[in-house]
Amino acid sequence: MSKPELWVIAERRLDHVEPTTQQLITKAKSLASNQFKVVTILLEATTDHLENELTAYGPDEIRIVRDDRFPTATDAEHADALKQLVDAYQPNSILFGATITGRSIAPRLQAKLQTGLTADCLDLRFDDETLVATKPSYGDNIMCEIICPDHRPQMASVRPNTFVATPATGDATITTTTVTFHPVDRLKVTTARPVVNTATTVGDASRVVALGRGAASDASIDTATKLAEKLGGRIGVSRPLTDQDRFTHDDQIGQSGNTIHPELILNFGISGAVQYLVGMQDSQTIVAVNADPHAPIFDVADYGYVGDAQAFMAALLAQFN
């Protein structure tokens, strides 16, 4: 009897594969061991070859459905195609990236399948054939382990950058299959233009200057901006600063914002709520400056200075210059 299938739904980012897809393939492979067959489901146009960006990560199979309508298909059309594939292949579990697209299609598919979906997970494991999905809630102050014991397939969406994509050996079998594309006339995408994403999230930066309530003045932000430029990095903030107009959710570090692991993070005026610490603790080098010697941030830092964040930043910037 063939092994049950563990699916990773590939997602497209303009002309490329969304990095979360690759991250999920690596994770799925480590979960599968010999128990599951890792299958990447790829819905693409007839002229596309996005599979070329997936083979290096070594899924057992890349199963492709080609239709020129897929690149601009709506959530319901995607979910409908996936439903047909699920009916045909009966996978054990399905993983989505918890991107905007993934978080829109997955629940629609879940409703079609009348099964369980755990959204925005930070960890996954299998207990036998049961997928145990770890999901944050209450602004990431609490973690829940959630299972779906009696319904198949099991579904989860996983927060981007939670896992690291690692190229792997192994030959991915590439197969193609077909579904019937059912167009939904009541919803039309009338324009779609690429957004030149200058506002990369703090999750993409390799060096991060992070500011919290203790470094929230205009002067501090100004100094931190210059410091980030010197380091070739980006500013990030803890949750309280997202209330300021100049910062958005894209700038927020922490499990409820961006889970990050840069090679260097400098934390200024951040005392360190649990969700913040857990959200950046995989950074390679962690530096903390805070006026409060008892701030929890010092527990997870490699280097720490107890004192005024603004004064320290100014001194650091002066020495860089």
């Binding site: 980012r13 303009l14 969304e18 959530d75 319901a76 979910a79 991107t99 905007i100 697209t101 978080r103 829109s104 997955a106 629940p107 629609r108 879940q110 409703a111 009348q114 369980g116 979906l117 959204a119 145990v132 999901k135 944050p136 809630s137 209450y138 602004g139 102050n141 609490i142 973690m143 829940c144 382990e145 959630i146 779906c148 939904v184 009541r186 919803l187 995408v189 009338t190 779609a192 690429p194 060096r207 380091l231 958005t248 260097l264 360190g272 649990v274 610490l277 527990d299 997870v300 490699d302 280097y303 720490g304 200075y305 107890v306 005024d308 320290f312 001194a315 650091l316 002066a318 020495q319």
Partner: protein, 263 residues
């Protein structure tokens, strides 16, 4: 035009703790408020109403009787009526079972043109119920709308910002839309509207008021089970203190970062 806005009541703060003995979530003393993201959906509905005088905005929520408070808050913002789905049979529902009851209630309200959701609840953070309801109602969905307007007698136009693409979508009504929190700033309920909201109808529907398949309700109708709840623990590291004046400490740091080949 009839607009239903689905809202959830959530704890006032996310600073919840785990009971060290029972390992259950300790929610004692947490007052309930309207999910902040749902206020954006209410605001969006009210803006559509402002632009279209005959629109009626009905708020819909599922939960215990005290969820009436957040419905009332939304009515004080300007919604016309509230419907609370409250029954022990609905308790313990996950997103699928919740979506089912909400969809049945939307059908029961009748002649609904538009169902609006906030992007997600701040407590459970799933954002699933909107698409589930859309599927159960067999309606088009627009998630994470960055703008929304009526563009025809029976049509809405929305912008949606994906990771790499800005889409314009046109949906024929009825449709389900979930909105981003950035799309508007919710209005405050004015003191007068707070008072007047108590004259508006707030209806409670129990199990028997809806057409329901009992196997799809509550815990029995929920495929997922929460098996464990815990507070995340950060991993500790050995700290090298930087000492002296800021200038001295900064120079120690530069030396250390050079040593680590970071600069």
């Amino acid at each position: 035009m009839k607009i239903v806005v689905c809202i959830k009541q959530v704890p006032e703060t996310n600073d919840v703790t785990i009971d060290p003995v029972t390992h259950n979530l300790d929610r004692r003393g947490l007052a309930g408020v309207m999910n902040p993201f749902d206020k954006n959906a209410v605001e969006q509905a009210l803006q559509l109403k402002d632009a279209n005088n005959d629109a009626e905005v009905v708020l819909l929520s599922m939960g215990p009787d005290d969820y009436a408070e957040s419905l009332r808050e939304g009515m004080a913002m300007g919604a016309d009526a509230g419907v609370l789905l409250s029954d022990r049979a609905f308790a313990g529902a996950d997103t699928l079972a919740t979506g089912y009851v909400i969809a049945q209630a939307v059908k029961q309200i009748g002649a609904v043109d538009l169902v609006l959701f906030g992007r997600q609840a701040v407590d459970a953070d799933t954002g699933q119920v909107g698409p589930i309801v859309a599927e159960f109602l067999h309606q088009p969905q627009i998630t994470y709308a960055a703008s929304l307007r009526l563009s025809g007698p029976n049509e809405v136009t929305a912008e949606r910002l994906l990771e790499d693409t800005k889409q314009t979508l046109v949906a024929t009504l009825p449709a389900v839309v979930s909105v981003r929190s950035e799309l508007n700033t919710p209005r405050y309920p004015t003191p007068r509207n707070i008072q007047l909201s108590f004259a508006k109808p707030l209806t409670v529907w129990h199990h028997d008021d809806l057409d329901l398949d009992d196997s799809r309700l509550g815990q029995a109708g929920s495929p997922t089970i929460v098996t464990k709840v815990y507070a995340p623990e950060p991993v500790k590291r050995e700290l090298t203190p930087l000492t002296g004046t800021p200038t001295e400490a900064a120079s120690q740091l530069i030396k250390a970062l050079k040593h680590r080949q970071l600069i």
